[in-house]
C-alpha cells in the first residue's frame, strides 16, 4: 500500500504526544528546572592528543558561587564508561585522546559563574603527536593510543577462495569507496536535570536510548547500587543513535551527589559537536568479478573504519558493516576483512543505519559498475545475483524467510520512475546513432529544463538487519495492568525520541485489544516504573512491543474477562474487551466499565511478558535473523554550471512486515531518507589535526525544506509468509540507508560519472563549457 493519510483511513491517528508538541507545552528533559538548581559545565581538552602534566582547581573552587569542581580524583567508582567496553574516561587522569575528552566539571549558582570557574581551572598539557587518520594509526611507528594498540576490532568473513576465482572471471571491477563523518544533528543537544534525594538516591532526567543501561553505567561510576538510581529518559528531542551512549550524565550525576543539590546541564551546540558521537568514516575497497553472463563469482572487501579515541559501539558497527557489504547477493565466494582503528579524531559510534549506510553505498556502487562492465541493465543485473527467499543470510546463517527482497525489487522495476529511466536510456541510445549533438540528449534540457541541467534516475537495493544480533544479550518484555484508577496501563522500558513509539503502542493496544485510547495510560522511559525492554535502538522496539503484546494478549484478556464475569454474573464466553470496558456479545451493550471493574478488585490485574529478540543459529557474533528490505529509486537534476545536485523525486518500496502505525512508518522512511540525502550531498564533519572545522549549523549543513521539497512515495509491502511468528520488522533505520547509493547511481545515469566518495563533490560535476556550441546556444536563449 502506498502510505499516505488517505490510504490509511482511520489508521491514520493523531499522536498522543502531539498536542504537547504543537503547543510547546511538552517539557523536554532539558527544559526541566527546580528551585535551587546549580548550573554545570564541563572542561574539555583543547588538544586532540596530550599528556596532562598537572591540574589545579584551587582558584576555581575558591570563586564565590562555585559549589563544586571535580576531576578524576573525585570519582568514587569506575572512572570509565562505554556500553560495550568501558574504556572512555569520565575524567582524564594523565592523557587526553580527543577534543571532547573531559578533564574537569564545575557546578555553580549561575551559568556565568560556572563559565568563570572553568576559566580558572589550570591544566598544563604537553601536546603529543596527533594520529589523524586510520591508515596512519596502523603504521608501525604510529603512537600507541591504547596499551593494546591502535586496533579496536577486526572482523572477517570468508566463504570459498575468492582470490583464486578472480582469475576465472570475465569481468572484474575494483573501486575504493570513501564515506565521511556524519553528525546526528539532533535539534536538542545533550543535557538534563540531576536531582539527589534526601535518602542518598539520585534521579537522572536525561535523554538516552536505554535507561537501564545508563543506570548500570552510572552505578559503576558513582559506586552506588542501581536501585538507588532512577533514570527518566524520555521525551527526547532527537537521537538517531547519538544519545544511546552516556554523554553528560556522569558529570551531572557526580556534581549532584557531591553538592547534594539539583544540577542542570545543557550542552551548547559547539560542545555537542565536539564531544558527541558521529557516523564512522569508512574506506571500503571492493574487488568483484563475474562470469561472461554476469553471475558474480568472487567478492573481496577491505573495510577500514575511523572509530576515534574510544570504543563505545565501534566494534558492533564494524560487525554490521561487514555483514552488509555482503547483504543479499549470491557471490560464489566472499572474502571480507574489516578493521576499526583508534585515532585522535572525533568519537565515532552508533548512528541510524549502524554501518549499513556506508556498506550499501559501496556494495550498490559495485553492482552498477559490474552491470555496465557486463553490459546489462543494472536492475536486471541485481535480480540475476539476488538470493532467493530460502537462501541463507550474509554470513551463511539461517534467516527468517520472507519474500521481501524479490518484492521490493519488483516494486522498483514497476515504478513509474524506473520505467522513465528505461525509456530515456533507450531513446538516448537511439539518438547517439542518429546524432551526437548535445541538443538531442533526452536527459539534457527539454520542457522547463534549461540546457545546462541534466536529469538522471538511479536505484539501490537494501537489506537491513534488526536487533542486536547473535552473541549480544537482547532481552525485552513489557507489562499490562488494570490499575486502581481504572486505567489500562501499558509499561515498556523504551524511549520516545520522536519515532512515534508511544503512538505505535497506543495503536497496537487499540487495534489488537479493542481498547479506546482514553482507556489507556502508557508508561515508558522511567526505570522506576517500567520493566527493562532493552534498548530503543537497532530498529527493535516495534517488533518487541508486538511480540510482548502477542504474549500478553491471552492471559491479560482472560483475567479481565474472568473478573468481569464474576462481577456481572455472565459467562466468560459472552464477554469481550471493548472501548471503555467489557462488552456483552449478546446484548451488544457494555457490561462493565474498566473503572468500575478496577474498583471491585482487591488487587490490580497485572500481566508481564519476557521475550528476547530472535537470533540465528550460528556462532558468528552480530549475525542477524530478521531483516527488512528496501528498494529506492530516485530522480536527480544536475546543474552543470554549479555542479549541484537536486533530488526531484523519490520512490521507496519497503518490505518490513505489517504496518503498525502508518504515520510513523511513513515518517521513518521520509525522515531517514532526508538524512541519507544529507549524507550523499551535504554533510561532512571535516577534521583537521584532530579539530572539528565545522562547529555549528552555519558550516555543517543539513538538508533544509528547500532541499527536500520533491515528492517522496513510500510503498509498504506488508506480506509475510504464512506462519511467520515475528510480525512487524523495524523501519527505524532502513529509510536512512539506500538513498545515498541511489543518488550516486542517478548521477552516473545523468552525467556518466561514477561516484566513489560521499558527500558528492560538486566540482566533479561542473562542466567546462565547450566554447562554440554552448556559446551559440546561450545566445539563442
Amino acid at each position: 500500500m502506498l502510505l499516505n493519510r488517505r490510504n490509511s483511513g482511520e489508521r491514520w491517528r493523531v499522536r498522543p504526544d502531539g498536542p504537547g508538541k504543537v503547543t510547546g507545552a511538552l517539557a523536554y528533559l532539558t527544559d526541566m528546572d527546580v528551585p535551587g538548581a546549580l548550573y554545570a559545565l564541563v572542561l574539555r581538552s583543547p588538544h586532540p592528543h596530550a599528556r596532562i602534566v598537572s591540574i589545579h582547581t584551587e582558584a576555581a573552587r575558591s570563586l564565590p558561587g562555585v559549589a563544586a569542581v571535580l576531576t578524576h580524583a573525585d570519582v568514587p567508582g569506575l572512572n570509565r564508561f562505554g556500553i560495550a567496553r568501558q574504556d572512555q574516561p569520565v575524567f582524564c587522569e594523565d592523557r587526553t585522546r580527543y577534543v571532547g575528552d573531559a578533564v574537569a566539571a564545575v557546578a555553580a549558582e549561575t551559568l556565568a559563574l560556572a563559565g568563570s570557574a572553568l576559566d580558572l581551572i589550570e591544566v598544563e598539557y604537553e601536546p603529543l603527536p596527533i594520529v589523524g587518520d586510520p591508515e596512519q594509526a596502523l603504521l608501525p611507528e604510529a603512537p600507541l593510543l591504547h596499551p593494546e594498540g591502535n586496533i579496536l576490532h577486526s572482523k572477517s568473513y570468508r566463504s570459498g577462495d575468492a582470490e583464486a576465482i578472480f582469475g576465472q572471471c570475465a569481468h572484474v571491477v575494483e573501486e575504493t569507496y570513501v564515506t565521511t563523518r556524519q553528525m546526528h544533528a539532533y535539534m536538542e543537544t545533550e543535557g538534563g536535570l540531576f536531582v539527589p534525594g534526601p535518602d542518598g538516591s539520585l534521579t537522572v532526567y536525561a535523554p538516552t536510548q536505554h535507561g537501564f543501561m545508563d543506570r548500570l553505567q552510572l552505578s559503576r561510576i558513582l559506586a552506588m547500587p542501581e536501585r538507588r538510581i532512577r533514570i527518566v529518559s524520555s521525551p527526547i528531542g532527537g537521537s538517531f543513535g547519538g544519545k544511546d551512549e552516556l554523554n553528560v550524565q556522569p558529570y551531572g550525576s557526580l556534581l549532584a551527589m557531591v553538592t547534594g543539590r539539583p544540577v542542570k546541564i545543557h550542552n551548547s551546540r559547539r560542545e555537542s559537536v565536539r564531544s558527541g558521537l558521529k557516523r564512522h568514516p569508512m574506506t571500503i575497497r571492493m574487488k568483484t568479478g563475474t562470469d561472461e553472463s554476469g553471475r558474480i563469482l568472487a567478492h573481496r572487501v577491505r573495510i577500514v573504519a575511523d572509530t576515534g579515541p574510544y570504543a563505545t559501539l565501534g566494534a558492533e558497527v564494524l560487525n554490521f558493516a561487514t555483514e552488509h557489504v555482503v547483504s543479499a547477493y549470491r557471490f560464489g565466494s566472499v572474502d571480507v576483512e574489516s578493521i576499526s582503528v583508534f585515532t585522535n579524531n572525533g568519537m565515532s559510534g552508533e548512528f541510524r543505519g549502524f554501518g549499513g549506510n556506508q556498506a550499501i553505498f559501496a556494495l550498490e556502487g559495485q553492482m552498477d559498475r559490474l552491470a555496465e562492465a557486463v553490459g546489462m541493465d543494472p536492475w536486471e543485473f541485481r535480480r540475476l545475483n539476488m538470493k532467493a527467499a530460502d537462501e541463507p543470510g550474509p554470513f551463511g546463517q539461517t534467516i527468517a524467510r520472507t519474500d521481501g527482497l524479490a518484492k521490493v525489487w519488483a516494486a522498483a522495476a514497476d515504478s513509474a520512475l524506473w520505467k522513465e529511466r528505461v525509456h530515456l536510456d533507450i531513446s538516448e541510445n537511439s539518438d547517439i546513432i542518429s546524432t551526437s549533438s548535445a541538443t538531442f540528449d533526452p536527459k539534457r534540457g527539454g520542457g522547463d529544463l534549461p540546457l545546462w541541467k541534466r536529469t538522471g534516475i538511479g536505484a539501490a537495493l537494501v537489506m537491513h538487519g534488526a536487533g542486536l544480533g547473535y552473541g549480544i544479550p537482547d532481552p525485552s518484555g513489557g507489562r499490562l495492568a488494570l490499575r486502581k484508577d481504572g486505567k489500562i496501563e501499558a509499561s515498556f522500558g523504551f524511549e520516545e525520541c520522536g519515532q512515534g513509539l508511544i503512538a505505535t503502542l497506543e495503536q497496537m493496544l487499540v487495534e489488537r485489544f479493542g481498547f479506546a485510547a482514553e482507556d489507556l495510560r502508557i508508561v515508558i522511559g522511567d526505570s522506576d516504573a517500567v520493566p527493562d525492554s532493552g534498548s530503543s535502538t537497532a530498529s527493535r522496539a516495534t517488533s518487541m512491543m508486538w511480540k510482548s503484546l502477542s504474549l500478553l494478549q491471552t492471559p491479560f484478556t482472560e483475567k479481565l474477562l474472568t473478573e468481569a464475569a464474576n462481577c456481572c454474573g455472565l459467562p466468560v464466553q459472552r464477554l469481550r474487551l471493548g472501548p471503555g470496558g467489557i462488552w456483552d456479545r449478546e446484548s451488544g451493550e457494555r457490561a462493565i466499565g474498566y473503572p468500575a471493574l478496577a474498583e471491585r478488585l482487591a488487587e490490580p490485574i497485572v500481566c508481564e511478558a519476557s521475550t528476547s529478540y530472535p537470533v540465528p543459529d550460528t556462532d558468528i557474533v552480530g549475525a542477524h535473523y530478521l531483516y527488512s528490505y528496501a528498494a529506492v529509486v530516485v530522480k536527480v537534476e544536475i546543474d552543470d554550471l554549479t555542479g549541484r545536485i537536486r533530488v526531484l523525486r523519490q520512490f521507496h518500496a519497503v518490505a518490513a512486515g505489517p504496518v503498525m502505525n502508518p504515520q510513523g512508518y511513513l515518517g521513518q522512511i521520509e525522515g531517514g531518507s532526508s538524512m541519507a540525502l544529507g549524507f550523499a550531498l551535504l554533510e561532512e564533519s571535516t577534521m583537521a589535526q584532530g579539530q572539528y572545522i565545522a562547529n555549528n549549523f552555519d558550516t555543517y549543513l543539513i538538508p533544509t525544506i528547500a532541499d527536500l521539497s520533491g515528492p517522496v512515495e513510500v510503498l509498504a509491502i506488508e506480506d509475510l509468509p504464512d506462519g511467520d511468528a515475528y510480525g512487524p520488522r523495524g523501519v527505524g533505520e532502513i529509510g536512512s540507508v539506500g538513498l545515498a547509493a541511489a543518488i550516486a547511481s542517478a548521477v552516473r545515469n545523468a552525467a556518466g560519472i561514477f561516484i566513489h566518495r560521499l558527500p558528492i563533490d560538486p566540482a566533479l560535476l561542473q562542466e567546462v563549457m565547450p566554447i562554440g556550441q554552448w556559446a551559440v546556444m546561450s545566445d539563442e536563449r
Binding site: 498536542p19 510547546g24 527544559d31 535539534m187 536538542e188 512515534g500 511513513l666 525544506i705
Partner: protein
Amino acid sequence: MNDKETAAIADWSCTVNGRAVALQLPQARRLLDIIREDLGLTGTKRSCEIGRCGACMVLVDGAPVNACLMMAYQCAGRTLVTIEGIANEDDLHPVQRAFLEEGGYQCGYCTPGMIVSVKALLDAKPNPSFEEVEEALSGNLCRCTGYGGILRAVHRAIEEGQSRP
C-alpha cells in the same frame, strides 16, 4: 550572561502573549534567555544559538525572529508572541491543528519554531506560492521528518484558511 551584562540592569517591559510583562534586566540579555529562564516559557527551544536553526523562533510585532539573536533592548516595548501564545483560549490554532492531523512533527523539538514561522507566513500571505513556503521555512531545520509531513501540514493549513469564510 557575562559580567558586562550584570553591570547594566534596567527596567524592561514588553507584551508577551497578550500580557504586559515588566522585568529588571541587563539590556544585552538575549531574548531567548528572557523567554526560557525569566518567563519560564520553555516551548521556545534552544538549539544552535546562532540564528541558523529556527528552534527559538518567536513573533516580534508579528514578524518571525530568532530569539537567540535579539537582545532585551531591541525588543523592549514591543509585542512578542511565543508558541504558548499561538493557540486561542481553548482551541488550537489552525496551523497547530494541521501539524497535528498531518503528522508534521516527530521529536517535536523544532515544531514550536516551525509553527511560529508558518503562522507568520500565512498571516502575511494566506495563499503563498510553493517557493514562498520554501523560503519562509528555510531557516527552520528539522532533522526528523524530512519535511514531508511539514509540507503537508502547511498545505492543509493553506487550504483550510481558504475554505474559511
